[in-house]
Amino acid sequence: MEPLSPVLPDDADVAVRVRGLVTGFGDRTLHDHLDLDVARGEVLGLVGGSGSGKSVLMRTIIGLNPARAGRIEIFGANALDPDPVARRNLRRQWGVLFQEGALFSGLTVAENIEVPMREFLSLPEPVMAELACTRLRQVGLPVDAAAKYPSELSGGMKKRAGLARALALDPPLLFLDEPTSGLDPISAAGFDNLIRLLKDTLGLTLFLITHDLDTLIAICDRVAVLGDGKVLACGTVDQLRAFDHPWVQEYFGGPRGRAATTLPRGEAA
């Protein structure tokens, strides 16, 4: 096995396994036989230039985007299974935080958090309300935000509320699309700590797309670099810094990359 390979050994405990994935739009191919593994309990960061297909990869794994070829397994189950019952059961396994939160605008924050609970469980109303409030506190929102509508929240609060909804069923796997973009540095550091805590206490597996170098360094166990339709390399930030590829060198070796390493936010916290 070559170093920095995105493929883990066959006997590894893997949460997400992607093999030979091909996606594209029209006559343009975006991912060309892409392989990637996410180990159970790890935080995997996905980076890549604009248009390299980070979001499309995430959307394909969670079934929002069709794959042209390839295999995707989540906890050993085929994620591309066309059977609706199998897909529905699989969907309970993960939570997704979209970039802008994607809260339902016609529902209050607490009702948004209750939506997955209503769909998959039959809990009495008071229990759901209390759980929703606990979730809010868990993601660092004041409890009085429960009865607010998403239009009354700031961008950072929307993200937190979106995370609360993604966590509503305590899924073992969490997908985060740019969780810290658009947040001020204090909130972003708070978000990093929150994600780290969730991972440590609940044993979550996290798959996150981010451009925030601080986040990559503070919370990611491994970082996968997407480029040319494939995962170019996958490893720790230190390993990637030694990886000989112009884009990777520029990314981690540029002024921002260096600044993020010399003042690691996660270690200071």
């Binding site: 605008s105 009702e111 759980l131 868990q138 009865a147 607010k148 509508y149 609940l202």
Partner: protein
């Protein structure tokens, strides 16, 4: 699978509860119920047998601890694995349930408030609409006398969207309406042996009223709604703000081309729609009354007054103006969320059709008063 809860009150002056198994959200209700007890002695929670716990399970345990502490007893957690203890500590005492929906208050007051707000909102809306109408007329006037540039490109594009793309549906709609009028008219007039007057009915009703009215309703549904939705989502997306910062007047860029295109195109569409209704009528009288097309055309020329034709076409640009203005106005009133774009789009269609019919009635009485019967 599942959790188990066993209470043991034998101990000396303390309540012990042993938790085991999986404390997860799947059976959090049972867990919470099993843990609900009246606090009466210091509590010891034995979590040695817990194999898995998630936030919901931790919530239930923490909630119990909070209840006992609130009642003045100590509560202690024993035997928790480090991860479990860390999760419990990280979550802390759960907050009491907050209202999930905004508090609305007394329902009678709420209803009264709703009525008051609706009245105030409508009055405010009328004010806003008049302001918008004024702004549009000023810019339109300035454009027509050449003091402001007219965006020809946008006008032509709107003409295509409003008229050219609607040719098929309007032809079909008016053809069917023409058929129905001819058929119903023939059935009634046959009772007096006056079937031949079906031609009068079709000719006058479609050129003067139905052609333009139905075309206007169709355009309101097709294009008025599109204007409201386009401008509304541009507003959500801050594109309107972007236009202003660049120094472009949104009225000039977005409203004027739509108003001009819609007013002009409705004239053509009304003529075109009326034509299809007449064709349908001819088709019907040919097949049912055996009147050959040539005779039908000659009869039409005799019965349709030039004034009918003129009255029909005079109304068209007015209706087009109303539709475009309403669509744009409601688009600009959209605010903050996707829902408001939807409700504004609905309002644009409903109000423009309403106003079109009101103006149509006004025109009907006005021209009768002038003696054009």
């Amino acid at each position: 699978m599942g959790s188990s809860v066993s209470w043991n009150d034998e101990g000396a002056g303390e309540a012990r509860v042993a938790l085991a198994g999986r404390l997860t959200i799947d059976d959090v209700t049972d867990l919470a119920n099993a843990l609900a007890r009246q606090p009466a002695a210091p509590l010891v929670v034995d979590m040695g047998g817990v194999t898995a716990i998630d936030t919901a399970g931790a919530w239930a345990v923490n909630r119990m601890v909070r209840e006992w502490q609130a009642a003045g007893y100590t509560a202690q957690i024993d035997g928790a694995a480090p991860d479990v203890a860390r999760l419990l500590a990280a979550l802390g005492a759960p907050p009491p349930a907050a209202p999930v929906r905004p508090d609305l208050g007394n329902p009678i007051i709420v209803q009264l408030e709703r009525i008051g707000r609706a009245v105030y909102g409508q009055a405010h809306n009328i004010g806003l609409f008049l302001a918008f109408l004024g702004q549009t007329l000023v810019v339109l006037g300035a454009t027509l006398i050449g003091r402001r540039p007219l965006r020809w490109h946008a006008v032509v594009h709107q003409c295509e969207v409003i008229a050219v793309n609607a040719l098929g549906i309007i032809a079909l709609l008016l053809f069917l309406v023409g058929l129905v009028i001819a058929q119903q008219g023939a059935v009634q007039l046959r009772q007096f042996g006056a079937e031949v007057f079906t031609v009068n009915l079709i000719g006058r009703a479609t050129t003067r009223e139905l052609g333009i009215l139905l075309t206007a309703i169709m355009v309101a549904g097709r294009s008025g709604s599109a204007f409201a939705a386009q401008i509304g989502s541009m507003k959500l997306n801050q594109e309107i703000d972007a236009l202003r910062t660049i120094g472009l007047d949104p009225i000039e860029v977005l409203v004027i081309p739509r108003v001009i295109a819609c007013s002009l195109m409705l004239v053509g569409l009304a003529f075109y729609g009326g034509l299809w209704a007449l064709i349908a009528g001819g088709f019907y009288v040919w097949s049912d009354l055996s009147m050959p097309p040539a005779a039908y055309i000659t009869r039409l020329q005799e019965v349709i007054l030039q004034s009918d034709f003129a009255i029909g076409l005079i109304k068209a640009p007015v209706f087009g103006f109303i539709i475009a203005l309403m669509g744009c106005f409601h688009g600009f009133q959209a605010s903050s969320n996707a829902e408001s774009v939807g409700s504004r789009t609905t309002q644009a269609v409903v109000e423009s059709i309403f106003l079109v019919i009101v103006f149509d009635a006004f025109f009907a009485f006005f021209f009768s008063f002038l003696g054009y019967n």
